[in-house]
């Protein structure tokens, strides 16, 4: 009897457990820190281009441009994009060399809901720069099926 009652009492608690796989602003901060290895991220030099109003979250064109001469002494080492409310905070990481010529990246991404996106660039001098954008999604990427 007691065990049954305990189970019944415990049931709502199990239902309230947060889904471990959900990204959150905190999970995004953690993912960004893993990418920057704890270094400070300054805003600027990075320009993220994405439509502020997204009709279909399944395929959202995204481009990121970093202001850099891309010479052997001064180039962009990596660009990473993060999100707040998809199941995972990470979207894409690209690694570049001076032979890429331009620090530019374009791809199509999925967005589960309206949220903030953050693009972070790592420069060859070890500094990190970022740009963030708020996007509104009317039809979400089919996470729920």
């Amino acid at each position: 009897m007691i065990t049954t009652r305990r189970l019944l009492l415990a049931a709502p608690a199990v239902l309230l457990l947060p889904q471990a796989s959900r990204a959150s602003p905190e999970a995004m901060t953690e993912a960004v820190q893993a990418f920057t290895r704890g270094a400070t991220v300054r805003s600027g030099r990075v320009a993220m281009d994405i439509s502020p109003l997204v009709e279909n979250g399944n395929t959202v064109p995204l481009s990121v441009i970093v202001d850099s001469p891309m010479t052997a002494e001064n180039y962009v080492r990596a660009i990473a994009v993060f999100n707040q409310r998809n199941p995972q905070p990470h979207v894409i990481t690209v690694r570049l060399s001076p032979r890429a010529g331009r620090a530019i990246l374009a791809t199509n991404i999925r967005l589960a809901t309206s949220q903030v996106l953050l693009a972070v660039a790592e420069l060859s001098d070890g500094s990190f720069w970022s740009d963030s954008t708020q996007v509104v999604v009317t039809l979400a990427a089919c996470v729920e099926g």
Partner: protein
């Protein structure tokens, strides 16, 4: 073999910055989506893309499930010598595909 669309100029001047656009056919199953039977479909995505040219990896990318189906990527590279531009995609369930395009540099 997955179908690919690759857009690389066949000829270019030395030192020119050329755009490269690639698209590969792939479902990019996220691993969060239930199928018709209600069971969550296992993740099946392309995880890594690399572009090698003139003996060096010029560009690489790591994908998450947040990359849309049929991954599209656009980037640039500086031409140095005539030769192959090797594009390689690797992913879950042993997915691997390599495509080579020749470029003539004058």
């Amino acid at each position: 073999m997955a179908r690919v669309l690759i857009n690389i100029p066949a000829a270019a001047r030395r030192g020119e910055i050329i755009p490269i656009r690639t698209l590969i056919q792939h479902t990019m199953e996220t691993g969060y989506r239930p199928g018709a039977d209600g069971e969550v479909l296992p993740r099946d995505i392309i995880r890594r893309f690399t572009c090698t040219y003139d003996g060096e990896e010029v560009f690489s990318a790591e994908f998450s499930p947040a990359i849309a189906a049929n991954p599209f990527l656009s980037f640039t590279l500086v031409t140095t010598n005539s030769g192959p531009v090797v594009l390689r995609w690797e992913g879950d369930n042993g997915f691997a595909q390599t495509e080579t395009r020749e470029i003539t540099v004058a």
